[in-house]
């Protein structure tokens, strides 16, 4: 159940203000043998750490005391300092998989999510999936996206040439994938049902997330502030 170490040690960042959850995340992440794990508790510490190290994998709490996890996510995605030149894999640490802010994070480019307090086995398998490039999705998320499509919410960006009947800019193929997942099919099953490859399905899911508009990110951050979960970052 362990991963072969990379040529250079993997740099892993955990940004989590709750100490117990941070230590649980650390346990889950130790599945990557030989990795260097950095644990910080605030956005400020995370940013300063970013300046010093090139991060390969980041686990980011969605609700941080001194800023928005999503802004940090954007900063991480914008950086490209690590040796391979790719931006770090970012996984959000969240309570629910249908959290609005998780949705916004997925739209902003988050590669996956961990559920707080779930078993370390599950967390490890999610992390592995994220590192492999598998999109994070569940039937509940698929249903939420379909709901947004159905009610014509403006949070889905419109693409030119999209099929009008399928509404809100998703292609018929993407809708098919979402519907199958909403019924409980795994990504592998979706691929075999539709007769495509698993990679095709993964990229279709990623395209759906990419269409989650900038608008929703801003809106989610606003909501978080109003709910009193965050202060404005300095």
């Amino acid at each position: 159940m362990t991963i072969q170490p990379h040529a250079a040690p993997l740099q892993i960042l955990i940004v989590e203000d709750d100490l117990a959850l941070a230590s649980l995340a650390q346990t889950a992440v130790s599945v990557f043998v030989g990795a260097r794990i950095h644990v910080v508790h605030t956005v400020r510490d995370a940013r300063s750490l970013l300046d010093q190290h090139a991060i390969d994998l980041a686990v980011i709490d969605i609700g941080l005391p001194d800023g928005s996890g999503i802004d940090l996510l954007l900063a991480l995605k914008a950086s490209s300092g690590n040796p391979t030149g790719a931006s770090p894999v970012c996984v959000m640490h969240t309570v629910f998989d249908t959290d609005d802010m998780l949705f916004a994070a997925l739209g902003a480019g988050a590669d996956g999510y961990l559920l707080k307090g779930e078993s370390s086995g599950m967390m490890a398998s999610r992390l592995r999936a994220a590192m492999r490039g598998e999109p994070a999705i569940s039937p509940a998320i698929a249903r939420r996206v379909l709901d947004l499509v159905r009610t014509g919410a403006p949070t889905l960006a419109r693409t030119p040439g999209a099929d009008q009947a399928s509404s809100a800019g998703l292609t018929a193929a993407e809708l098919r994938v979402l519907r199958l997942i909403a019924q409980g099919a795994t990504v592998a099953e979706v691929a075999s049902t539709l007769g495509t490859s698993v990679n095709t399905v993964k990229s279709q899911v990623k395209r759906v997330y990419a269409r989650l508009d900038v608008h929703s990110r801003v809106a989610a951050a606003e909501k978080a502030r109003r709910l009193g979960l965050l202060f404005d970052a300095e």
């Binding site: 709750d18 100490l19 117990a20 959850l21 230590s23 649980l24 609700g63 309570v95 629910f96 249908t98 959290d99 609005d100 559920l115 707080k116 307090g117 779930e118 078993s119 599950m122 398998s125 569940s138 039937p139 509940a140 249903r143 709901d147 159905r150 009610t151 009008q164 009947a165 199958l180 997942i181 909403a182 019924q183 409980g184 099919a185 795994t186 592998a188 099953e189 049902t193 709910l227």
Partner: protein, 657 residues
């Protein structure tokens, strides 16, 4: 020669007997000859004063001096001819258009002829006058005959058109008989138009029977009937009847022809099938208005006769009557329309009940049932895409009102309704407005429900998140490795496993807060996803059919929680203890039936004696009884045939709506 009142008679037909008419023409002739001489001597006698005598020079009347009634009648004749010719030119091979053109011709002949002799200043030479009078009768005969023939072939051909055309020579014969003075008196000729109308009425009734089940033609018939009935009633009331009864018309004949014109044009509208779906509505309004006016007029006449005033007094009474009966008319009109106008409260209630169904399929069904209750169409069919209707977004009519297109709503696809009231009527613009209002309401209600449930969900999420943060954190703290070796290792281990289970439970409760109000189908989808992932990760293949549950149902939070825990426990058992390579899951839930969940694996099974398999089996029984059902765990029938766990929950789920 002493002049008499009747010398100025506008229409010789007002004189009933032939002798009177002949005398009239004779006098006309004499007067005409006198008038033609250059100078005429005129004596005016007034009672009580001296006679005044003088000579007047005669001159031909200038065309510009002709009165407006002349030009009006000429115009009516021209319009009649033009409209008739126009309708005929659009469908020259149709007999209905031909008959209609003939009525136009007849109208023109009748009106133009009567225009000439109607506006004469004093007299016309008898031969000319008789000729004009005969022309007028000929036009009337042609008009009557063609009108009857028209109603025998339109909207449905009741007899062969050539047979219907026989009415024309029949009318011609009547005219000829009259022209040769073979009938006892003038009344016979005057009776032609009323007779024609009676025949038309009979033909209309026949048409009514023939158009049963044909809403389009029925609509046309209703319109034609309404226009002909009102116009001809007006003519009879204002012209023919008074002449028959008292010998004098109420208004001048010229103005009487004006009343024919609307009827004439109305028939053209019917022939052209213009705005077919609105014709019913117009026909109804026309009849209502006509009846109302007639009632007011009768009341007026009665009052005037009873009170005995004339002139200004009569006008005043008429005005007062019109004003005071206006509210009465409005009330009656409102009562007539109330039966078809939907009360806003009822509409809103119906729409809300459509959106408040627990599942999408139910909502769609209720929407269709609502449309059914309003229109009773022969058919309601879903429509794949809206684009084929030329891009129209709202509700609209198709095929002259035989079909109604209903746009897509938040609860259903676009629909097409066919043949309202089982084919008895057409869809009207009123129906379109009702559907559009309903769709708009649906949109609003659905949006507010979504917003409300979103708000409620977020509130739950916030509460659950707070709960999680405040409760699970201390629990998790207990999971940190013990720093002090002095503590009993076994106790620590058991504490840790307790805490892990507590956290897992907490996760379930917390997730439940997010998923409250979930339906059975969605819950099973969630469980399927996580279970398949866990099993596949453990190297076990899964056969669990995808696809819609036979019958969905809403779940309470407790039911969701119990079912989730049950399935998770079963999967955990398979992964940890069964040593299986394959799992088959089957879920049955038919309407009004039990929910049956069956999980079978091909592992080593378990020994029925080994009940102390942790609390695993006890847990399963506990969950099952929480759901009000029971679980049966079947040991393998042979080694490596695996275990089958069957959960049966009675109709608890089916009751939830």
């Amino acid at each position: 020669m002493v002049l008499r009142d009747e010398d100025l008679l506008e229409e010789p037909d007002y004189l009933a007997s032939w002798t009177a008419q002949n005398a009239f023409f004779a006098r006309q002739d004499t007067l005409a000859i006198i008038a033609r001489s250059a100078q005429v001597r005129v004596d005016v006698l007034r009672r009580g004063t001296e006679a005044i005598s003088g000579s007047v020079m005669t001159r031909a009347r200038a065309v510009a001096a002709l009165p407006w009634t002349f030009w009006l009648q000429m115009l009516i004749g021209a319009v009649g001819l033009f409209v008739g010719a126009w309708v005929w030119s659009l469908k020259p091979e149709e007999w209905s258009a031909r008959f209609y053109a003939l009525t136009g011709l007849g109208l023109m002949l009748a009106v133009d002829a009567s225009a000439v002799y109607g506006v004469r200043e004093l007299a016309l030479p008898a031969p000319l006058f008789r000729w004009l009078s005969n022309t007028n009768h000929a036009g009337g005969a042609l008009f009557s005959g063609a009108l009857c023939a028209l109603f025998f072939v339109y909207p449905r051909a009741l007899v062969r058109p050539t047979r219907a055309a026989l009415l024309l020579p029949l009318a011609g014969a009547w005219w000829a008989i009259n022209a040769l003075y073979l009938t006892p008196d003038q009344q016979w000729s005057s009776g032609m138009l009323p007779a024609a109308l009676a025949i038309t009425l009979g033909a209309s009734l026949w048409q009514w029977r023939a158009t049963r089940g044909d809403p389009a033609n029925r609509a046309v018939l209703r319109w034609l009937g309404a226009t002909v009935l009102t116009s001809c009633s007006a003519i009879i009331a204002l012209a023919t009847l008074p002449v028959m009864l008292t010998g004098a018309p109420v208004i001048s004949q010229g103005l009487g022809f004006v009343v024919i014109l609307p009827m004439y044009l109305g028939i053209a509208v019917g022939l052209r099938e213009y705005r077919l779906f609105a014709l019913d509505d117009w026909a109804f309004r026309l009849l209502f208005w006509a009846v109302a006016m007639a009632a007011v007029l009768l009341l007026d006449v009665w009052l005037i006769l009873a009170i005995g005033t004339r002139g200004a007094g009569a006008v005043a009474i008429a005005a007062v009557l019109v004003l005071t009966t206006a509210p009465v008319r409005r009330w009656v009109w409102g009562r007539f329309n109330a039966r078809r106008d939907m009360q806003p409260v009822h509409l809103f209630r119906d729409v809300v009940s459509v959106t408040s169904a627990s599942t999408d399929a139910d909502s769609e069904q209720r929407w269709q049932a609502l449309l059914n209750s309003w229109f009773s169409p022969l058919q309601i069919a879903p429509v794949a895409a809206v684009a084929s209707d030329g891009g129209e977004r709202g509700a609209h009519l198709l095929l002259h009102g035989r079909e109604l297109s209903v746009p897509a709503t938040p609860v259903s696809n676009a629909l097409r309704l066919s043949y309202a009231n089982g084919g008895a009527r057409l869809f009207t613009p009123h129906d379109v407005r009702l559907v559009e209002t309903a769709c708009a309401l649906l949109q609003i209600v659905e949006e507010s429900r979504t917003a409300l449930s979103e708000g409620m969900r977020r509130e739950r999420v916030r509460i659950a998140r707070d709960l999680h943060d405040t409760v699970s954190s201390p629990l998790l703290a207990g999971l940190r490795p013990a720093a002090d070796d002095a503590i009993d290792a076994a106790r620590v281990t058991s504490m840790q496993s307790d805490i892990k289970r507590a956290v897992a439970e907490m996760r379930n409760v917390v997730t439940g807060a997010d998923r409250a109000g979930i339906t059975l189908a969605n819950l099973l989808a969630d469980l399927r996803y996580t279970s398949v992932e866990r099993l596949v990760a453990a190297g076990i293949t899964v056969q669990w059919p995808l696809g819609a549950l036979q019958h969905d149902a809403a779940l309470t939070g407790a039911q969701r929680h119990s079912l989730t825990a049950f399935l998770q426990e079963v999967v955990t058992n398979v992964i940890r203890h069964a040593e299986a390579t394959q799992v088959v899951v089957e879920i049955l839930h038919a309407p009004l039936c039990d929910l049956v969940v069956t999980v079978s694996d091909n592992g080593r099974g378990f020994d029925a004696q080994q009940v102390q398999h942790g609390d695993g089996l006890n847990n399963l029984h506990a969950r099952a009884s929480e759901l009000g059902g029971h679980v049966r765990v079947q040991p393998p029938t042979a080694p490596h045939r695996g275990t089958t766990v069957t959960l049966t929950v009675p109709r608890l789920f089916g009751a939830a709506t």
